[in-house]
């Protein structure tokens, strides 16, 4: 573990990413305590610029809502959607990839054609269609993001399983009479975990970008304050109050950047062999 930390911390970007992410998480946790009032409630006159009034650090938006409160509450939504949709995508992708790689032949063919299909159709357009047809609640937002983002997981897991399947310890497990399911779950997947973790951290970043794009288009839960919604709502007043779209965008960018950096750091820390090859 300390070895892991050592390698992770050698990547300076990854450390910065982690600090930013911890800060965003802290904001998300602190939101209901720091801003107990709903982020939708009107607190002051509209279009109050940032740094002008005590207690309203970032001013107010077109409807007099506290921008800082929106940012804090938006952090909750972004992180929640990013995390949960990634977990859902993993639960779709891992079994498909594992089965395809482990059983091979027809199963592999069928599952991979299925995966390819989902990889071919334009993912953002599919997410839009899904949300336009079903209710735009947070649950559906998460589900549609998961539906469009699982294929890379399946392909990665399949490749990992393929490279592990013929190793001796798997043969040993087969000989010792373990069931296929048990071998996949207890022998193969733990060994395939490092690249999955790296991919997952990058997927959270992509999911956050997707969520913000969807809510920018007005396809997210209308009762939930999110960064994308804040930008979308401020779009019409871009000329007069540019900061209203600028600030939430910075929040999205920093969070996504942090997650990407963390992904790279995890990659360095979890694949030490790859690292030494690069040197």
């Amino acid at each position: 573990m300390s070895d892991f930390w050592f390698r992770y911390c050698k990547n300076r970007g990854a450390v910065i990413g982690l600090i930013i992410l911890v800060f965003v998480i802290a904001c998300a946790i602190a939101a209901p305590f720091a801003f107990p009032r709903s982020p939708w409630s009107m607190v002051q006159r509209p279009f109050l610029p940032p740094f002008e009034m005590e207690g309203l650090l970032l001013g107010t938006d077109a409807l007099g809502r506290n921008v800082l409160s929106g940012l804090f509450h938006g952090a909750r939504v972004s992180l929640l959607v990013g995390l949960v949709s990634t977990i859902v995508a993993l639960t779709i992708g891992i079994p498909i990839g594992a089965c395809a790689g482990y059983y091979g032949n027809l199963v592999d063919d069928f599952l991979m054609r299925f995966t390819e299909f989902f990889q071919t159709i334009p993912s953002f357009a599919l997410a839009i269609v899904l949300l336009a047809i079903f209710q735009p609640t947070l649950g559906y937002v998460i589900l549609s993001i998961a539906i469009v983002s699982w294929p890379p997981v399946a392909r990665l897991v399949r490749a990992e399983v393929l490279s592990l399947r013929n190793r001796e310890f798997i043969e040993a497990a087969t000989l010792s009479g373990q069931s296929n399911l048990r071998i996949i779950w207890h022998q193969i997947l733990p060994n395939a975990l490092p690249p999955i973790i790296v991919l997952a951290s990058l997927m959270v970043a992509t999911a956050i970008l997707l969520e913000s794009s969807l809510s920018f288009l007005g396809l997210s839960d209308p009762n939930v304050m999110s960064w994308g919604y804040m930008i979308g709502a401020a779009r019409t007043v871009l000329r007069t109050a540019w900061w209203l779209s600028f600030i939430p965008g910075i929040a999205i960018m920093l969070t996504v950047l942090a997650l990407n950096l963390i992904g790279e750091g995890l990659n360095d820390a979890l694949n030490p062999r790859l690292r030494s090859l690069e040197k």
Binding site: P122, V129, F134, A205, L209, S212, L217, L219, R239, L257
Partner: protein, 342 residues
């Protein structure tokens, strides 16, 4: 009769041609299957929508009284069994009948057809910009590895990679159009400009710059990182060492040996980009009021005009498919190894 390839008159060239043809045929069949699958998915989505599909098709057309719905049901065969409906739907879609938009009082196919050129222009330009800019910057960063060139390029790539497209679109139009006034921030051409010929092309071109740059942004970053990484990786391989030992000049090695091989993953990525770029077009066209199918989709979302939404979805998926097919074929031609291993 021995197999064709064993006959004496069968030359290597013919063999190559046959492998290439078989490869093309395989890709075409695959594309056809995916297209059919997309149609089935589209059809199922209409039926998965909560409520009566007739009501879904009518949207909030306002005219959703019982008689209107009944007409719709008969017209689209919604009273028929499921499989018959699917068949009718597919037959229609293959003949490019994508239904009717009650909002716009126009067949969906016509609406899309009208808007498609603008989208093609935008996406193609964005694609070309991102490939050129990304590869050039990536090569530069790799060759100047460790210098401030590399640092600047890599940092920008990292930032662009994390920037939400729609936000960048807003900020770009604010900066270049509102504050600096250099470029038009919305639309396809100057309204009331009535330009013709070259003037018009130039006018459209200046309108194109901001949206195309925005749409290509993310993939510029992707290509930068990719090209840089592959260039560095390939530079370490043995055949490059051999070339160096042979006494070739570094510029020749970089160009002929390294870059050539580093371009292969770019082609693979280009296939992936197609899907992203079509999705990104919805955001870009919305912000820049670009009159393409992406904006059409955005309008349709706001009006819950399901036929248009699904129509645009189908057409964009078909576009991606076509693009993938082209990159696949390109790949097969550029890299002979692919054809044989596949």
């Amino acid at each position: 009769m021995p197999p064709l390839w064993a006959q004496r008159s069968y030359t290597t060239l013919q063999l190559r041609e046959h492998i290439l043809l078989a490869y093309i045929a395989e890709r075409l069949v695959k594309a056809a299957f995916i297209l059919i699958a997309i149609l089935v998915l589209n059809f199922m989505l209409i039926h998965a929508a909560p409520g009566d599909p007739a009501a879904v098709m009518a949207g909030e057309a306002g005219a959703a009284d019982e008689k209107f719905l009944q007409d719709l049901r008969i017209r689209f065969g919604l009273d028929q069994p499921f499989t018959v409906q699917l068949w009718t739907y597919m037959k229609g879609a293959i003949q490019l009948d994508l239904g009717y938009s009650y909002r716009q009082q126009m067949p969906v196919a016509e609406l899309i057809w009208e808007r498609l050129p603008a989208t093609l222009l935008l996406t193609m330009t964005a694609f070309v910009i991102s490939v050129i800019l990304g590869v050039v910057a990536g090569v530069l960063a790799a060759q100047k590895q460790g210098t401030w060139w590399d640092t600047v390029i890599s940092t920008f790539a990292l930032l662009f990679y994390a920037t939400p497209l729609f936000w960048f679109a807003l900020m770009a139009s604010l900066l270049f159009s509102v504050v600096l006034g250099w470029l038009p921030g919305f639309g396809y051409e100057t309204i009331g400009g009535n330009y013709t010929g070259l003037r018009r092309a130039l006018d459209i071109g200046t309108h194109l710059i901001l949206p195309a740059m925005t749409l290509g942004l993310f993939f510029t970053a992707v290509y930068m990182r990719m090209t840089r990484a592959t260039m560095l990786e390939i530079s370490r391989l043995d055949f490059v060492k051999t070339a160096r030992a042979k006494g070739l000049r570094n510029s020749v090695i970089q160009r002929r040996h390294v870059l050539r091989n580093a371009l292969l993953p770019v082609i693979t990525l280009a296939g992936l980009q197609a899907g992203q770029i079509v999705g990104g077009a919805v955001l870009t066209e919305t912000v820049f009021a670009w009159p393409g199918i992406g904006r059409l989709m955005f309008e349709a979302i706001n009006q819950r005009d399901y036929n248009v939404i699904l129509g645009v979805f189908f057409v964009s998926a078909a576009m991606v498919l076509l693009f993938n097919l082209i990159t696949d074929l390109l790949y097969g031609v550029v890299d002979p190894r692919i054809r044989i291993t596949k």
